[in-house]
């Protein structure tokens, strides 16, 4: 094994590598942490048709279509994305595939970047499709490649479930060459692919038979591994939990499940018989534990290991200690007091001003999924709800319909989120004549996930120019009469337009249109600085919550003056617009890069 083929890859990169090696020809998805880098990595390959779709359902539709067309296909999304795609997913289990179709669900235990920590293993059981759970980057690659084989062998979509710790871990992976099989072509078969009730009824038994076959397969699969050890303690586990178990209790005997649906229940039963105490260690819900119990296996699990949040070696150690298997770990001293550091809107973020305005107006704000959700936190604290992609508008309509508030009701939604799931909500607002205002915060990218293109940006995932969706025309076309466009760095104009739109009876739309300061281009304009002598420490600038503005040790009338970190200030002007004594000015010492 040469150094050249041993590379350090994240789980996501490893899945992309698997797709390359497996000869995938079409891949589709929607950005969502922690899944995003799979398609981004794959897109760099160049020969593969990789695309962002407007949402996960469309992505899976594309993938299924491509699969039926005869090429291996990958669909990627985060866990909640599968909720969107679930409609297609459930029925794809009936139709089966053409060439191999693998769906990656990147789950987010611990909710590092998500609104829930749903355990998507249940989707496999619900749909009746096989579920693979890699435990590190190497397995992510190997399992994904195998998933294509399983998909084709059993004529089923395959769900590969990763978690944040798999997706964003780097580990050593050995790479191999890409092998592309000739396309199978599309074989017309309405009874298989047209799921009218008559045909679907026929496919349901097929699905059940397939599961039976899969169960047999799983019993024999190398992905089910019995790791030798001291049989006083036996552990059934999968995914990242397996690594923690090996780390914490290396001497134990372990049944490592690479495929967790369907389960190799015979293997599990015999394993259980051979150990003194049987534990299931799994992240989130007792998916395995319940299945084992249902099969009549006496097993210990969630009694000792947390059901909420991410597992960790420490958590696993504590669980085994609580079970009396390990000694309690020595207490680690508490860390010294430090400052809390919640995520923030970036310096110069174009979302700041609209939320400053909404807070001043005192609107009831139905938020959505994206960076702007951070506006729910202090100091902006200007968001009242945030549930799911595209939910803001419908929820705003509902809030308005309830009569439960006399305040103006505003929905805030990002450009990509709007195109993902917001348009039907807007149509609802028009159709049912809701007096709501929709702020489309157009920053020209999918910012939260790192700056991806989307149907509104005019660029594809592979960097080609394409026709962008015209948001103004779109809103007008569905029947919104009052559509405004405003520069969100122009605080006064933003206030005026939002107030004007709120005053409009019926649905109105305000589109704010500054690009994200981080992606795709890092914005760094002439920074502002504080003339300390002029600062009266009123703190009005601090209300914007800009990370570049901090207190200094200088005071005025007992209040702290402020300073601007010119290295991080992007020069957005917002604080300068707020500052009453004009103490915030363009930094006279700054030199534009490249101007010497």
């Amino acid at each position: 094994m040469t150094v050249d083929t041993r590379v350090l890859l994240s789980g996501n990169e490893a899945i992309a590598q698997a797709a390359v090696e497996a000869g995938v020809q079409v891949a589709a998805g929607y950005p969502g942490t922690p899944s995003t880098e799979i398609l981004e990595t794959l897109a760099r390959h160049g020969e593969i048709d990789v695309r962002w779709s407007p949402n996960e359902k469309v992505a899976l539709d594309v993938a299924l279509g491509a699969s039926l067309g005869g090429v291996r296909t990958l669909a990627t999304m985060k866990h909640v994305g599968l909720n969107v795609a679930a409609d297609t997913f459930m029925t794809a289990a009936y139709t089966g595939v053409g060439a191999g179709l693998v769906l990656i669900s990147a789950d987010d235990p611990g909710m590092h970047s998500s609104q829930n920590e749903q355990d998507n293993r249940f989707y496999a059981r619900l749909a009746g499709v096989p579920l693979l759970e890699p435990s590190d980057s190497l397995e992510a690659k190997e399992f994904t490649k195998l998933a294509f084989e399983i998909s084709e062998e059993f004529d089923t979509p395959v769900l590969v479930r990763t978690t944040t710790r798999i997706s964003h871990n780097r580990g050593v992976v050995t790479t191999e060459a890409r092998r592309v099989r000739e396309t199978l072509g599309f074989s017309r078969d309405p009874s298989k692919y047209v799921m009218i009730p008559a045909y679907a009824r026929r496919r349901r038994p097929v699905l059940l038979e397939r599961l039976e076959e899969l169960t047999t397969y799983v019993e024999e699969s190398p992905l089910t591994a019995d790791i030798a050890g001291d049989s006083t303690v036996g552990v059934v586990t999968s995914g990242i939990a397996y690594r923690y178990v090996r780390e914490v209790i290396p001497g134990a005997r372990v049944l490592k499940l690479g495929i967790t649906h369907p389960l190799p229940m015979d293997r599990i039963k015999s394993f259980a018989a051979e150990v003194d105490r049987l534990f299931v260690v799994e992240e989130l819900d007792p998916f395995l534990e319940d299945a084992l119990r249902a099969a009549g296996i006496d097993v210990e699990g969630k009694a000792f290991f947390p059901r909420a949040g991410e597992l960790s070696p420490d958590a696993v150690r504590k669980g085994f200690a609580a079970a009396g298997v390990l000694e309690a770990p020595a207490p680690v001293p508490e860390p010294p007091a430090t400052v809390v550091r919640p995520p923030l809107l970036c310096p110069g973020c174009p979302h700041t001003a609209p939320f400053l305005v909404l807070k001043r107006i005192g609107a009831v704000v139905a938020g959505d999924i994206g960076c702007y959700t951070l506006a729910a936190l202090e100091p902006l604290a200007a968001m009242d709800t945030c549930v799911a992609m595209g939910s803001s508008i419908g929820m705003a309509v509902g809030l308005a319909a309830s009569g439960g508030t006399e305040k103006p009701v505003v929905a805030t939604i990002g450009d990509s989120t709007f195109l993902h799931g917001g348009i039907p909500g807007l149509i609802e607002a028009v159709y049912n004549e809701a007096d709501v205002t929709v702020l489309i915060l157009d920053n020209g990218t999918v910012a939260m996930t790192g700056g991806q293109e989307h149907p509104g940006t005019g660029v594809t995932l592979q960097g080609e120019d394409t026709r962008p969706v015209d948001l103004v025309a779109l809103c007008r076309s569905v029947g919104v009469d009052d559509v405004r466009v405003v520069d969100p760095h122009d605080l006064a104009a933003t206030y005026r337009e939002i107030e004007g739109a709120i005053a409009h009876k019926g649905p109105s739309v305000v589109i704010t249109n500054r690009p994200c300061v981080v992606a795709p281009t890092k914005v760094k304009d002439h920074p502002f600085t504080v003339v300390a002598e002029a600062c009266t420490a009123c703190q009005l600038c601090m209300t914007a919550g800009c990370p570049s503005i901090v207190w200094t040790d200088e005071t005025f009338e007992g209040r702290r003056k402020v300073a601007i970190d010119t290295t991080t200030c992007t020069g957005c002007t917002l604080c300068a617009q707020l500052c009453p004594p004009r103490a915030i000015v363009l930094d006279p010492e700054w030199e534009a890069p490249g101007r010497g």
Partner: protein
């Protein structure tokens, strides 16, 4: 004197100006300057012409001379020459000071009479109901310019500097602290000091030009500050979504200051 309200003729309050009109804010900034300089109210005269701005002097407990339209600089010149021991401040508006009274203003500046002139620029005639003023931006709507004025506006500060004012500054009502600081300097300056104060008129200019309430117009004012406006003009918008953003800016601060013989009415010949 702990509170600037002590300078007010409290029995005359509240003043007649409309809600959100920043003229009162400017008056307050001026009174802060008076307070900081500890000027003797008995020796402080305020002279004003006609218009909303000029009404302000009725509410301050100094010697206040409410003159005719545009002529306050002339009245003030006479008063100052007659009472060199007094501090004489003129409050005028953009119409009062730059249209009907433009001639008096520039000549007072040229003479370098020791006056402080506050020109409250709200871009319109407020008192008479929203007619176009010499400061109305080209294209702005007024009752006498229903389709937008076709005229170019004055830059009062450039005009006054050209006329020979020995102290020229511009501040904005939205910046009361800077306004006070500049007014302190203007009042301390020996000679003709001119301070243009950008104010608002929500009732007419704001309403006709869809600029919102007084509060919104103050925000708009802050955004017009030159550094901010220039920075905003420099930036790009999201591809494919057009925005017509007003990128014109307005510089603030002290633009010009010089020491120059102050006109006292005594001819140089006689002085010799």
């Amino acid at each position: 004197m702990t509170d600037v309200r002590d300078y007010l003729r409290e029995w005359a309050m509240p003043h007649v100006l409309c809600p959100g009109c920043a003229h009162g804010t400017i008056l307050r900034a001026f009174l802060e300057a008076v307070k900081r300089l500890e000027l003797d109210p008995d020796k402080l005269a305020m002279v004003a012409g006609i218009g909303c701005s000029s009404r302000l002097i009725g509410y301050v407990d100094f010697c206040t001379l409410h003159a005719t339209h545009g002529r306050a600089p002339a009245f003030a010149t006479g008063l100052k020459l007659a009472r060199p021991d007094m501090t004489v401040a003129v409050v005028t508006g953009d119409g009062d000071g730059l249209a009907i009274g433009g001639n008096h203003l520039i000549h007072a500046a040229r003479r370098n009479v020791d006056l402080t002139v506050l020109l409250l620029n709200n871009s319109i005639y407020g008192m008479t109901g929203g007619q176009a003023a010499p400061t109305s931006p080209a294209g702005s709507v007024a009752s006498t310019a229903p389709a937008g004025t076709a005229e170019a506006p004055f830059d009062a500060c450039k005009l006054l500097e050209g006329a020979g004012a020995s102290f020229v500054a511009r501040v904005m009502a939205v910046d009361p602290i800077m306004s006070t600081n500049v007014m302190v300097e203007a009042l301390s300056h020996r000679g003709f000091s001119f301070v243009e104060v950008i104010s608002d008129c929500p009732e007419y200019f704001g309403r006709y030009n869809a600029l919102g309430s007084g509060a919104e117009m103050l925000a708009w004012m802050a955004r017009k500050e030159a550094g901010v406006a220039a920075a905003l003009a420099n930036k790009r918008y999201v591809n494919h979504v057009p925005t017509a953003s007003d990128t014109s800016g307005l510089a603030t601060g002290v633009f010009h200051r010089e020491e120059r013989p102050v006109f006292t009415g005594l001819s140089t010949q006689a002085a010799r």
